[in-house]
């Protein structure tokens, strides 16, 4: 368990790493979510237009 303490700097080191990976994962998730939202919005719009046209 000694590596957790990082020579007394554990709180700083682990916070920096946790924050970095959290932001990267957030960016990945955000990218996927945005794409799905735009795709589904467009799909709903085209469908509504097609049904109005019938």
């Amino acid at each position: 368990m000694e590596f957790l303490s990082m020579g007394g700097y554990g709180a700083y080191v682990w916070t920096a790493y946790a924050l970095t990976f959290a932001v990267v994962i957030l960016c990945l998730a955000q990218g996927r979510r945005r794409h799905r939202r735009v795709f589904n919005d467009l799909r709903a719009r085209f469908r509504a237009a097609a049904e109005r046209g019938k």
Binding site: Y12, Y17, G31, R47
Partner: protein, 249 residues
């Protein structure tokens, strides 16, 4: 070469290519990031002055590097879009901005977390390196706010491109700030006269992290440009066919 560039700038081609490439970039990035994280945290020797606190370098430097690389990508593609009126280039610039902002935020935060035990302060107002990096964050915010404020997409592209190009002067200022003025921030480690000032056991994980994060940035950028292209091309036939295939079937 030019036929490839021409093909690449065709939105449906780019959309499909980006979808296929993004997972490869992400996967290829995770390998060096895995190595860099483990080696940086556990195998690299502690610094003789900073002890284990120096290990923050392995997340701080890639974040800071990407905060500037994203800006260069944004300004360059904005410039290409402005000069050659290439819509895809504007889409890349627009997609790079929020990513750049996130990496700038990370560089500032991890830097602050590193500064607290080393300099005895989280933040120093007026420090050239810290201030120029904070200005970078505001440039990204300004760019995104300007885009959001203009309804006409062509005008939004152009106005924001001008802002991106003007703000590009800040990038070399950030890089050279620690050499031009006195700063709390330490001098350059890798890119300096006389070669890198770092032991190989400490350097390889750092290079791996920079390389891995750059690939991951590529994956994030491709994914965002794809969404941007889909929305911008929403009136095009290929988009309609793609998102609502039942209509034509």
């Amino acid at each position: 070469m030019w036929t490839f560039v021409h093909k690449l700038s065709s939105p449906p081609y780019f959309y499909g290519l980006a979808a296929r490439m993004a997972p490869w970039f992400a996967g290829a990035g995770l390998l060096p990031i895995g190595y860099g994280t483990v080696a940086g945290l556990f195998f690299a020797p502690p610094d003789y002055q900073q002890g284990d606190a120096f290990r923050i370098i392995y997340v701080h430097v890639p974040a800071a590097y990407l905060s500037m690389l994203a800006y260069i990508v944004m300004a360059a593609t904005a410039g290409i879009g402005l000069i050659w009126r290439m819509k895809l280039a504007h889409a890349v610039a627009a997609a790079a901005a929020p990513l750049g902002a996130w990496f700038t935020f990370l560089a500032l935060m991890t830097g602050s977390i590193w500064g607290r035990p080393m300099w005895g302060t989280w933040w120093e107002w007026g420090d050239p390196r810290l201030t120029s990096e904070l200005i970078l964050l505001f440039l990204y915010f300004g760019y995104m706010a300007l885009r959001a404020a203009i309804d006409d997409p062509t005008r939004a592209d152009r106005a924001s491109a001008v802002l991106a190009l003007v703000g590009a002067v800040n990038v070399p200022i950030i890089h050279f700030s620690v050499e031009w003025w006195s700063s709390l921030h330490q001098g350059p480690t890798l890119v300096r006269e006389g070669g890198p000032a770092i032991e190989p056991a400490m350097m390889w994980p750092l290079l791996a992290m920079i390389f891995g994060f750059s690939l991951l940035f590529g994956a994030l950028l491709l994914s965002r440009v794809r969404t941007e292209v889909l929305f911008r091309e929403r009136r095009a036939r290929w988009v309609r066919k793609l998102v609502y295939p039942e209509e034509t079937a």
